[in-house]
């Protein structure tokens, strides 16, 4: 039986020299971080629980990726550059093949995004992953939820709805051909955090939020903080490649209320349209203009003729429904 300290050493303590940011990493009571001059530290934490955020038996490599990706998505939505993260892990047993797979998925993404593991905690318990991610952003360039202005364009990155489609199939509620399911599952299991886009949008976008619980619900939070409403043009919503092959009603439902998309929804002034497109191109990320902000409250979904479609937010609430 591996002890806690042997576990940590074997899978999570990757010797790395101190650098300009991480002055002391894993192995002391605390890690020590130096902030670059003029930068704020952006901090976000997410907890993933087996049976709620992922199925029992999920490939640990995918889980390692996703646990970090969902936190990086929060940094992206702030326009922050990833710096460092902590990992707390409750495991039913010290299963070495599980740990090896988890560490592989975790560090592959960490290395891609240039973020270092600086500390953590491991314990025995029902499977639970808690990551706290730290990034840096100049305060006046951060993309806050409360910074949207009336008339701003509303944009979304990437595509929506494929993760939800995959979830429905994995739950046995729907069926897809294998090749289509594979497309959708990639979005459910390996979301791409939009860090490069978030950083490229500094000084261009005004407000941003990451779409994790469904577009309508998450946009609703941004609008509430900015005291505005929005019109969304249904025909402009970007469906994921798997979802795009499904019935029209399912498409719009999953795009608006899907969950697990980990895309950025952001606002920008009309005169920044070209700048947004250039930023997106530099970050190699698709962006789509889906509507506009308006005075008042609430979200209207408009069809191609300008008629309001009946939709209500049904976003994922972690206390409201089961996975």
């Amino acid at each position: 039986m591996l002890s806690e300290f042997e576990l940590i050493a074997r899978y999570f303590d990757r010797p790395q020299a101190p650098d300009n940011v991480v002055r002391l990493g894993v192995g002391d009571d605390c890690a020590l971080l130096a902030m670059p001059p003029g930068q704020m530290m952006a901090v976000s934490t997410d907890m993933l629980v087996e049976g709620r955020h992922f199925f029992a038996g999920t490939d640990p490599d995918k889980l390692g990726h996703k646990a970090l990706a969902v936190n990086l998505s929060d940094l992206a939505a702030m326009g922050a550059k990833p710096m460092a993260f902590t990992l707390a892990l409750a495991l039913p047993s010290a299963d070495e093949s599980w740990l090896a797979g988890f560490a592989q998925g975790l560090f592959a993404l960490a290395d891609t995004e240039g973020i270092r593991l600086i500390g953590g905690d491991t314990t025995r318990g029902p499977l639970n992953l808690c990551i706290t991610a730290m990034g840096s952003v100049p305060e006046n360039l951060s993309l806050r939820r409360d910074a949207a202005k009336n008339g701003d364009d509303l944009w979304v990155s990437g595509t929506l709805g494929d993760a939800r489609l995959a979830l429905e199939v994995l739950q046995g509620k729907s069926v897809l051909p294998d090749d289509v399911l594979a497309l959708a599952e990639a979005r459910l299991h390996r979301p791409t955090p939009r860090c490069a886009l978030g950083m490229a949008l500094r000084g261009i976008a005004r407000a941003a939020i990451d779409v994790s619980d469904g577009l309508l619900g998450d946009l609703g939070h941004l609008l509430a903080r900015s005291h505005l409403g929005a019109d969304i043009h249904a025909a402009s919503l970007p469906a994921g490649p798997a979802l795009a092959q499904q019935p029209a009603q399912m498409q719009i439902d999953y795009m608006l209320n899907g969950g697990d998309d980990y895309e950025l929804c952001f606002t920008a002034p009309l005169e920044k349209r070209d700048a947004v497109l250039s930023a997106a191109a530099s970050a190699n990320t698709l962006v789509t203009r889906i509507g506009n902000l308006k005075p008042g409250a609430g979200i209207r979904i408009l069809d191609a003729t300008g008629m309001t479609l009946p939709f209500t937010s049904n976003s994922f609430d972690h206390f409201g429904k089961d996975m």
Copy 2:
């Protein structure tokens, strides 16, 4: 049924104006922190699991205190000043009386130590509390585990062993009179993080670690990082007031291998003895000199005649034994 967002708002979103450190708190994708000039950020994370770190049915007020206290103890051991923390919480159900009690214990300690909740995550799942705490410390004054020097005095704050004594009684392995148990339980349920002492020891102590898993085990980590050994004088170890009423063999066993003490074990040069005592007095915290560092490896426990007593580290390993 409360939604996740209603839960957060009701119990954890305490409106607070931005200050010099917390520029943006709960309610966005990330919090934003500004570091005071010349300061490092110290970061620590701990996860507490029901049935392992605390009994099912533990008073939520005590749990709120302890979940934050164990993280603050890590900041203290670095000499860091508490700044901010995040909380991720998995709960079997949205139990309002539990949440109210938990928030009360949590914020009472947070307010005492001047640390602000800046973000978090709540979800349904087996009860699990994960806190990440952030503090500030000038890099050259931080109390690292690897900074001890040969010949340093070895010190410990407060008293040892009472938390373990209480645990044994609560597990039905031992019996104590009610008034003695109350003394011991206070240490198990409401440990006092030694933040004031940690800060007062900046520039005086060399190395420090917090005693959470047992003195021998934790000191062992410090010694390993500093490539040194230590002699401990058994007669000088400070027993907790409840433990001091127990048999001598139990006293020394629980002081060395008790766990859950949340005291600081630190080293300082001999010429700093008066400075250590003054710092401790300024922090209103007892400190006791318990031994010295030596070349080599390992810890010897010496009796009053200088004979070596047979003791081995049996510190708490979260994968090695059950609570």
